[in-house]
């Protein structure tokens, strides 16, 4: 496991979390 791998994995995870948060907020907005 290299530094680049860790950095990329963290960034990808962050983006996916933000996307998930976006979906949750969208659902909340809907109600």
């Amino acid at each position: 496991v290299t530094v680049a791998d860790v950095v990329f994995s963290a960034l990808i995870a962050a983006c996916m979390t933000l996307a998930g948060a976006g979906i949750l907020r969208a659902l909340k907005e809907w109600q």
Partner: protein
């Protein structure tokens, strides 16, 4: 990880469908909660796509060759910079790039509605906007899911150990930046389009959309301009044909949205200020948006063969249906809302800025049509049905009117000359409008002040043009007279006879460019004076406050100056007459436009990482009048004690005479090692008793990459033998072996040859014997001019070849050199061009991009 990518592509696709559906439902039923939810959803899509981009980027950086795309566009030897740029090196990555940028910009745009005063978040307009943007993203999602998935993996076989690598033509910093800027420019035009379409659908006040989306229009325009400028710069330094724009179909396709986009900026200004040209503005934003897709379609399909023709693509039917669908939708929307888009005012006078803006739009339209026509004509005229119908019609004309028309039997290719002849007919009037427009006022322009301003600027511009063009004619004629050895008057007549239509265009462009600058200065001065008189502040402070209050007007002036500079560059290109393509031997000179290019020899080496073999032609560039001075001659005389005399001959060479033929050939043998010889060879073995030298190439790795190199090396040795004399030196080669045996017939020549390789520095760069006068030798002295090294690279992988031109840039003109070694000869094929005013061309384009971005950043709107 690639499976995660595939899953996320699907998820992104599904989510985008959902966002579009929810937004449509919310817009149609007027339900704010649905619209707001879809806006959040769009943000989620943007983040998902960002994750996708990161996954692809990670695969490139970490050499994950399980991904087919990564394996076909990168390899282990590539630097980080090119690994990152390989992202958009191929179709799949470009699609993902489009998707990522579009969804990010869309999310920002929709979010901006929440903070914008007027509370339109949740309105039907916001719903339509979200829906249109989501649908635009969806198209690229569809392409990725169904046709061109960037996360495809190798199924049957395992991943390769190393990738195929990137096309070397693209391994250039400029080419790394051209695609993303150009694509981002295309993508950004989706926003003004979506804004316009959503406003029409939601029935908002006509015209509001333009003022609100003006930033995006400017942003898109600046990126597109930058994309075109960087592409031109790349073509100039990388392709080696001496120009920057070749009217290649895909170049033209990139120019089309730029032309309509520029017309949009002007029509939109009138829409904002006067509420006129409403339908034009809407039509222009639609056309521009469609053209960005059309351009991508042309690039990606193999409809037209071109420089940009990419490998097989299965996207053509998708693009075709999408384009047709959009065209129908846009036309329908425009027809449905035709009556709604009533202009607020009517034209009050023909002599007004309004008329000029209309003329501007029409001219941009004509230019766009000309480009489209020239681009598609070869393809259209290839089709049998087109040829047949043309022939039927022309036969009918022949019957009725007796016109003789050639039947059409093959494809018609118009070629770059056609574009260069036709487009100035729209471009120069446009440049004239650029000058006149800012001076003429809205509503009515028939006022004494306007007339005075026009008159004054014309006089300034005309005098400037007269002086510049007069000087140009005199200097050129004088140079021509000097070369041909004829009196000035005859040379002048000769020069004037050589003028072409391009020269006329160029002269007009110089005048108009000067007029544009004069107009911008006069209008700014007028405004600064008026305000400074009221506020009593300094001129600089007033100018800044004016610019801040009305960036559209004064920033526009700045951009117009950029246009003027760019046109000056075009005029320079039209005035370019000095171009030479000739084979050159060592120490031979070539006079081009006041300079002399002297070939010194070839240097062959592998690149530092061993990626390519480089053949550099060393060429000394000196001034035509600049011959060797006493200091240089003294240095030569000291270094050559055996010489009888050393005198300057044709600059920059010096002719050295030796007392005997033997002394001259001894010198040539020594000079070989001290100049080109020691760059190419090293002495592997020297046998004093048999007077045999075994030479081998200095960088043998070159031979494995570029097999032709061995012929060049042998040719260089043959030339040495011919110069020294076959009676004194002989060459033996073994086919297929990189070892060359030189045998000297006496000790003196053997010693001279060996002495050449002792590494003593010498005050000359190249030497050439004179076959007619064997005691005479031409030397190129060191310490003069500048050495340029145009290069040809041959890549180890795939054997592709690229040329890197060498340019000596100057304010007034560039000296441009491209050189390729001739096969199996000791000569190189040199292309030398004096390219006038390239500096203003690039400066003008830079002003356009930077000015446009600055205006986009400031909002580009008048502060109320």
């Amino acid at each position: 990880v690639q499976h995660l990518g595939q899953a996320l592509v699907l998820l992104s696709f599904v989510l985008t469908v959902a966002v579009a559906a929810v937004a449509l439902a919310g817009a149609a039923r007027g339900r704010p909660s649905l619209v707001l939810a879809s806006g959040r959803g769009l943000t989620a899509v943007a983040w998902l796509n960002a994750a996708l981009a990161l996954i692809l980027l990670r695969s490139f950086v970490l050499h994950d060759f399980t991904n087919r795309y990564v394996a076909s566009y990168s390899d282990r030897g590539m630097s980080l910079f090119y690994l990152v740029t390989a992202f958009w090196g191929g179709e799949k990555g470009a699609l993902l790039f489009w998707c990522v940028v579009l969804s990010a910009l869309s999310a920002v745009a929709v979010r901006s509605l929440r903070t914008r005063p007027g509370g339109e978040a949740g309105s039907p307009f916001a719903g339509w906007l979200t829906a249109i943007l989501a649908l635009a993203v969806l198209f690229f999602d569809v392409l990725m899911v169904f046709a061109s998935n960037p996360f495809e993996v190798f199924l049957a076989s395992g991943p390769p150990a190393d990738g195929t690598g990137m096309n070397p033509l693209l391994q250039n910093p400029m080419m790394a930046l051209h695609p993303p800027t150009q694509l981002a420019g295309f993508v950004a035009y989706t926003l003004p389009f979506a804004w316009a379409a959503a406003s029409l659908l939601a029935g908002r006040p006509p015209g509001a959309w333009y003022a609100e989306s003006r930033r995006w229009t400017l942003f898109a325009w600046s990126l597109l301009t930058a994309g075109l400028a960087i592409g031109s710069l790349w073509a100039y330094v990388e392709l080696g044909w001496g120009g920057f724009w070749g009217w290649d179909p895909v170049e033209n396709a990139g120019l089309l949205p730029w032309l309509t986009g520029t017309a949009l900026l002007h029509a939109g200004a009138l829409e904002t200020r006067r509420g006129m040209l409403r339908r034009w503005t809407v039509a222009l934003v639609m056309v521009t948006f469609l053209l960005t897709l059309f351009s991508t379609f042309l690039t990606r399909s193999r409809l037209i063969q071109s420089l940009h023709a990419f490998s097989d693509s299965n996207l053509t039917p998708f693009f075709l249906f999408y384009l047709i669908g959009l065209l129908v939708a846009c036309a329908g929307l425009l027809v449905l809302r035709w009556r709604f888009l009533v202009p607020r005012r009517r034209l009050e006078s023909i002599w007004s800025r309004e008329t000029l803006v209309v003329a501007n739009t029409v001219l941009f339209g004509i230019a766009g049509f000309a480009v489209l026509w020239g681009t598609l004509l070869p393809k259209l005229s290839e089709a049998g049905i087109v040829q047949d119908s043309y022939n039927v019609v022309s036969a009918a004309f022949h019957e009725l009117l007796g016109w003789d028309v050639q039947p059409l039997t093959q494809a018609v290719d118009v070629g770059p000359d056609w574009f260069n002849r036709v487009l100035p007919l729209a471009g120069l009037p446009l440049l004239a409008l650029t000058a006149i427009g800012p001076l003429v006022s809205f509503r009515t322009g028939r006022s004494p002040a306007v007339r005075r301003a026009l008159g004054r600027t014309v006089i300034v511009a005309a005098s400037f043009a007269a002086v510049v063009l007069g000087l140009h004619v005199v200097v050129r004629s004088q140079a021509l007279g000097a070369v041909l050895g004829i009196p000035f008057v005859n040379a002048l007549a000769e020069f004037l006879r050589s003028l072409t239509l391009g020269s006329v265009y160029g002269a007009v462009a110089v005048f108009l460019a000067a007029w544009v600058v004069a107009a911008a200065v006069v209008d700014t001065r007028r405004a600064v004076r008026a305000r400074a008189a009221v506020t009593g502040r300094s001129w600089a402070g007033t100018a800044w406050s004016l610019f801040r209050d009305n960036p559209a007007r004064f920033g526009g002036h700045g951009i117009h100056v950029g246009v003027a500079l760019t046109f000056l560059g075009f005029a320079g290109t039209a005035a370019r007459q000095e171009r030479k393509d000739v084979p050159m031997g060592i120490a031979e000179g070539l006079a081009v436009g006041g300079a002399v290019a002297t070939f010194l020899g070839i240097r062959e080496e592998m690149s530092p990482e061993g990626r390519y073999a480089s053949v550099q032609s060393e060429i000394l560039v000196t001034d035509r009048e600049d011959s060797a001075d006493e200091e240089v001659l003294d240095a030569l005389r000291t270094a050559l004690p055996g010489a009888v005399s050393a005198n300057p001959s044709m600059p920059p060479t010096v002719t050295v005479e030796f007392p005997s033929r033997g002394a001259a050939s001894d010198f040539l043998a020594t000079a070989f090692g001290r100049t080109a010889g020691s760059r190419d060879f090293r002495i592997e073995r020297a046998a004093p008793d048999t007077r045999e030298f075994v030479l081998s190439p200095r960088d043998p790795a070159v031979l494995s990459v570029d097999p032709a190199a061995i012929h060049r090396l042998v040719a260089g040795l043959r030339a040495l033998v011919a110069g020294v004399g076959p009676d004194r030196l002989s060459l033996r080669t073994t086919p297929g072996s990189p070892r060359f045996v030189l045998t000297a017939s006496d000790d003196r020549i053997a010693e001279a040859l060996a002495a050449g390789f002792d590494g003593t520095p010498v005050p000359y760069l190249a030497a050439r014997g004179d076959p007619r006068v064997p005691v005479r030798i031409s030397l190129v002295p060191a310490g003069m001019g500048e050495i340029l090294r145009p290069e040809v690279r041959r890549y180890a992988r795939a054997g592709q070849q690229t040329s890197e031109v060498a340019i000596d840039p100057g304010l007034l003109s560039d000296f441009y050199l491209a050189a390729a070694p001739a096969r199996g000869m000791d000569t190189v094929q040199v292309t030398a061009i004096r390219n006038p005013l390239m500096s203003t061309l690039w400066a003008g384009m830079a002003v356009l991009c930077i000015g446009g971005l600055a205006l986009a950043g400031m909002g580009g709107r008048r502060k109320r």
